[in-house]
Symmetry: C2
Subunit: 331 residues, 2 copies
């Protein structure tokens, strides 16, 4: 088992501290925040980061739509972006569909921003503004440091507070023993990863890491949607991983955890709320005094560590997940 | 096993024909299409219909964002909707979060539209325009006729063509024997339901029906996102259900099906493309001469029938799924 992924996970606080000061993001953010709405294009982990960005932009007043790239690439019938700000996100900068959305935004006269770790890439060239992640090369196939760096870049574009982000991520790293213990408690056919509010994006990303690294069928949900149907699956020994940052969602999630436990689910939590942790079978308790949107981001880190530990328990090499390429080029 | 769900599935062509002529939708659609962007609020099946609507509105020029309701209900920091058109979707009309998004739109001076089967409900009262589905009472817990009716209402709001929608849904009903045969071919730990373009929403909805009715772990994907990571799961006997309407996505999906088959997945398809059907282990082939967005909608019908058949094979009563309530009231 190679140490590559773990090393990249551990780089996250310093990478995040760097992008939190990005002058490029400050400039591009001013151009975006003058617009009527925002249009975000991304795939995979970057799309999860886009969801994190959507919540931050919307809570700062700017409605944000996640792109349907096929309308640009396959159908040739994109929406009118003349009043939009457009953000394209691609760690590798190689995604043709993300570049196509940026190009359409540019043709419409919209300010366009590429968020990428490769500032001389195709995606970067398609945009007027480039926000480089400066994360250093990411060698693992599964994105970790580029994920959190992208979220921080989007927060800076949205004008959200970033004080303490590196400390919060460091507190996430300190949960490695807890994350490894939780990995040993996962049983049943599948795993539901549930979040709400700012932590919803973190649930999307942790579920993706569990699938990519451990090949365990993990499905993300908003807590609200989960009660609209999929809760039927949550009896009989299903494992539910709750990702919960302290804030307006906490009270409802405590009741949600209690309900699931009564139905026989194994409810585990990654959280900074001690009472919620107590309501679960087991939990990793984040010790950080951070704003809710930063705690929500930091909770991705124990999720990455949990996915890695689960992969190793299953005899898989987390540095080389089977069947995945680092760069995909979908149209 | 009760006949209730099957009866409601079979009502879909006539219900759809009715809402395709909705005068209320024609009027409200004109008000919406003058706006700068669209904001859609919904949960569960209605949220899948909102995704269908997003593709139709965007391909007719209007960018569309799916709401993050918690920003309205829990955080009290909604985005600026002064330039938006707002649609709230709730079959029961009881969803407080959907009503809250409509109320915020109304306060901002935006045209607001409720799409609901209950025209005197809370959600209807929150909106300026009401588009009644006129689907008759839906007694099954799993939404079927209200799902397709909502999609048709959204298509009419978007100004999309609806000629032949009832015939297309009827062609979907004719696939019942095929859907029941396909249900017998599902094996492995979990099922991936994959779509792209207009059929992406159909993949979301079929996956939800399989979970609700058959309690099988079914996860929906865009074909593009699937190749960004979750494809790691698609070896070793996983079942993949492709939902594919003939159009610009078809060629890519044929290659996708062939790739998955080579990796050992069981690839099944609901499609109107004979060549794609041939590239799969088994398929239900829709015989309809319909526009792509209508074929995509009609392919939900064999998906509903497949989910119902799978439930019965597993000894479950599709009319009374365990652990679900018809109306959920999340905030």
């Amino acid at each position: 088992v190679g140490p590559r992924l773990l090393g990249e996970i551990e780089e996250q606080p310093s990478v995040a501290a760097r992008v939190a000061e990005s002058a490029e993001a400050a400039t591009a953010g001013r151009a975006l925040r003058r617009r009527t709405f925002l249009y975000l294009a991304a795939r995979g982990s970057s799309d999860n980061a886009a969801t994190y960005g959507k919540y931050l932009f919307e809570s700062h007043g700017l409605a944000a739509a996640l792109a349907a790239p096929s309308l640009f690439t396959l159908y040739g019938s994109p929406p009118d972006l003349r009043r939009a700000g457009v953000i394209g996100i691609s760690q590798s900068g190689a995604a043709p569909d993300v570049a196509a959305v940026l190009a359409a935004g540019r043709r419409a006269g919209a300010p366009t921003v590429a968020v990428t770790n490769m500032p001389r890439s195709r995606v970067a060239r398609a945009a007027r503004f480039v926000v480089p992640l400066r994360a250093g090369r990411e060698r693992s196939v599964a994105a970790t440091k580029t994920y959190t760096a992208t979220c921080v870049a989007l927060a800076r574009l949205a004008g959200a507070a970033l004080t303490g982000v590196a400390d919060a991520l460091r507190a996430g790293l300190a949960l490695r023993p807890d994350a490894e213990r939780l990995a040993g408690r996962i049983r049943g056919q599948g795993v539901a990863v549930v979040g709400r509010g700012y932590a919803y994006a973190s649930a999307l990303e942790v579920a993706l890491k569990v699938k990519e690294l451990a090949r365990v069928w993990a499905e993300p949900y908003s807590a609200a949607d989960f009660e609209h149907g999929p809760i039927a699956l949550a009896g009989g020994g299903t494992t539910v991983i709750l990702i919960a940052a302290r804030g307006p969602t906490t009270q409802g999630l405590r009741a949600f955890a209690a309900r699931l436990s009564r139905r026989g689910s194994h409810v585990l939590a990654l959280t900074d709320d001690a009472a919620l942790a107590d309501a679960c079978e087991d939990a990793a308790l984040l010790d950080a005094d951070a704003a809710e949107h930063l705690a929500a981001l930091a909770l991705v880190v124990p999720g990455q560590l949990l996915a890695r530990a689960l992969a190793m328990r299953r005899g898989l090499d987390p540095d080389r997940p089977a069947g995945l390429r680092k760069v995909t080029r979908t149209r």
